[in-house]
């Protein structure tokens, strides 16, 4: 029952985040979606990633959203969609069908409970998998974090740079 409530809560928060016109409220609904997704991950058995998702997805990303919205102002845009809504719905249904077609044949639900039972034996391998088998991913993450730092510098320092340029020209 609690799994059903978590799933329904995730979908409700995601829909409210998309439908909300005020940007700040939309960012807060997104944070709540992240928190519930991390809870679902914990229920599935991925505790390590759930912690990272809770701290990064619900924490850091929300702070960045609020910071950016604070800079640009809570601008509300007319609700008329740039794309015809029926066309968007057709794209969503086609995408969902394609995803279901790819996911469902690979589902072997009877294995799920057996794997959950040996959860204790599987614990502790995450560190070795991350640092040895997937070491290229770790390198990629370092590069991505570096580019993220550059983007934050652009986010913070853009206006000062423009002002100093204008002062020099003046």
């Amino acid at each position: 029952m609690i799994n059903f409530l978590i799933g329904a809560g995730i979908l409700a928060c995601a829909i409210l985040a998309v439908r909300e016109n005020r940007l700040l409220v939309s960012a807060l609904w997104l944070a709540l979606t992240s928190a519930l997704v991390s809870f679902l991950m914990y229920r599935v058995g991925a505790a390590e990633v759930a912690v990272v998702e809770l701290s990064v997805g619900a924490g850091l990303v929300t702070v960045l959203f609020v910071f950016a919205i604070n800079i640009i102002g809570n601008e509300s845009v007319a609700s008329q969609a740039p794309l015809p809504r029926p066309l968007a719905w057709v794209a969503i249904v086609l995408g969902g069908l394609l995803l279901a077609w790819m996911i469902l044949p690979s589902m072997q639900l009877e294995r799920f409970t057996a794997v959950l039972e040996q959860q204790g034996e599987l614990a502790g391998l995450f560190r070795s998998v991350l640092w040895t088998d997937r070491s290229v991913d770790s390198l990629l993450q370092v590069v991505l974090i570096f580019s993220g730092v550059l983007a934050v510098l652009g986010l913070i320092g853009g206006e000062e740079g423009l002002e100093s340029k204008e002062e020099k020209q003046g």
Binding site: A14, L64, F65, W89, I92, G95, G96, S106, V115
Partner: protein, 103 residues
């Protein structure tokens, strides 16, 4: 059985992907497009973790999900920085207005 955890997780994956895609396609605001993208990627995260669990390779699934979280965060940071710069330069975040602006 219909409310078992794998079934719910699959519904959540499909639902998050659909809602995120709807947000990307329908929103006129650049920030709302980033919100839609974030929601769709959260569906991918749940799918990675669930696939890892179902194939008895939960650590590989978690490792891939961790990489996706980092990449997704950087995408959000870069997109927000671009949105701020666009707002400063053109004075709007409305996508149809931006496509017709010249500078």
């Amino acid at each position: 059985m219909i409310f078992s955890l794998p079934n719910i997780a699959i519904v959540v994956v499909l639902g998050l992907f659909g809602v995120g895609l709807y947000g990307v396609l329908i929103s006129r605001n650049l920030i709302k497009v980033v919100v839609g993208l974030q929601i769709a990627v959260k569906g991918a995260l749940v799918a990675f973790v669930l696939a890892g669990r179902l194939s008895s390779q939960v650590d590989v699934g978690q490792s891939l999900a961790l990489t996706v979280i980092v990449a997704d965060t950087i995408v959000a940071v870069v997109a927000l920085a671009l949105a701020v710069q666009v707002r400063r330069k053109f004075g709007t975040l409305d996508i149809p207005s931006l496509t017709s602006l010249r500078r």
